[in-house]
Amino acid sequence: MEPILRAQRLRKHYGTGTGLVRAVDDVDLDVASGEALAVVGPSGCGKSTLLHLLGMLDRPDGGEIWLGGERIDRLSETAAARLRRRAVGFVFQAFHLVDELTARENVELPALLAGASPRAARRRAAALLDRVGLAHRAGHLPAQLSGGQRQRVAVARALVNDPGLLLADEPTGNLDTAAAGEVLRLFDELRAEGRTLLIVTHDSRIAAAADRLITMRDGVFVDQTVLGRTGHGTGLGALSGLV
């Protein structure tokens, strides 16, 4: 099957001479439609840079990126911005919600920017806030929400234009265990719905919720783990050694 996202010999270097950092160093990547992929690795391994390149937030020094069959690494700023709004949803570690807008207004915003009518935007925002379990918080400002709730609003916002690809950069990085659990549950539901997810994280827990996991070190992929889903394969025996 044609991958929804493909990168070939993708490269991004910073600095020069002895200060040269090969943040992303000739990386090849295919993400299948409906796949949940996690990229893990120590701080500075290049995983965030990779996500920024794939999401057109940053430009590669070399290589190609294809999204839904379209080459996207050489688009103009305007074309990239337009495609980004329509085809890619972003979730960031620090939520990046607009403080002055309510939860609903935050979710509506990308829909309005993409040209949806105010009415359609409101309807979609309401449905998505309900989807992430926050219908009752729609009128609250971010400051009135918990960290887990803010991130769930950010996920709703990322989905408002129904993008084919959802990119998440350390989505649980600013959250305590309980809040991270809320976000984990939400991502697991999105995975089960068949959303294509690419999550960059050093939270092994959210990584373990993916279908496939890639370990990155010094700008290259060094390991891959396929976390097969063969039904409820976990017998009590396997669990009992752990609890």
């Binding site: 659990g181 549950r185 092994s204 373990a208 370990t215 390991d223 669990l239 050694g241 752990l242 609890v243």
Partner: protein, 173 residues
């Protein structure tokens, strides 16, 4: 213990005292309980099993020293042990640590590769437990119980990351 001693001999032949010193150096305070007897008992067993041979090296003014050396069978066993992934629900950190020390000192395997293999194993386990946890209603008792297993596996995985970082910086330390 047998595997660790064998692996430490893979680099070069050594006598019991050296092996004990190297183990104690690697283990720090955890090696304080390691008495000389344990190392010698292990060496005798390995010798009986045909995994090491002993050579007597003469010393002036002291009794001859026994220098232990790996046999081909011993060599094979070390290689197998280094490639073997611990499938225990929660592998003991000391076991893995000594394996990494032995791999690095013998040069027979890259410690980072061993860590990667162990990480794959633990991640699969974490994925299994987490799936079971997510299948329970949020806030339920069983979900809380499974949360304990998830957090412990996470701790183990974080330690593996620390191991990888340690040996990535000094691949043959």
């Amino acid at each position: 213990m047998q595997d660790v001693v064998l692996a430490l001999l893979a680099k070069e032949p050594a006598h019991g005292y050296e092996l004990r010193a190297r183990l104690q150096h690697a283990l720090g305070p955890l090696g304080d309980d390691l008495n000389a007897g344990q190392v010698y008992v292990t060496l005798r067993r390995l010798e009986k099993a045909g995994l090491v041979t002993v050579r007597l090296v003469g010393q002036t003014d002291r009794p001859d020293r026994k220098v232990y050396e790996l046999t081909p069978t011993g060599q094979e066993r070390v290689t197998r042990w280094l490639a073997d992934v611990d499938r225990a629900p929660r592998p003991a950190p000391t076991d893995l640590y000594l394996k990494l020390v032995a791999a690095a000192s013998s040069g027979l395997a890259d410690p980072v590769d061993i860590v990667d293999a162990q990480r794959r194993e633990l991640l699969r386990r974490l994925a299994d437990v987490q799936r079971a946890a997510l299948a329970q209603p949020a806030g339920s008792g069983p979900a809380l119980l499974l949360e304990g297993a998830v957090l412990r596996l996470q701790a183990d995985l974080r330690w593996l990351d620390a191991c990888a970082a340690h040996w990535a910086d000094r691949p043959r330390g």
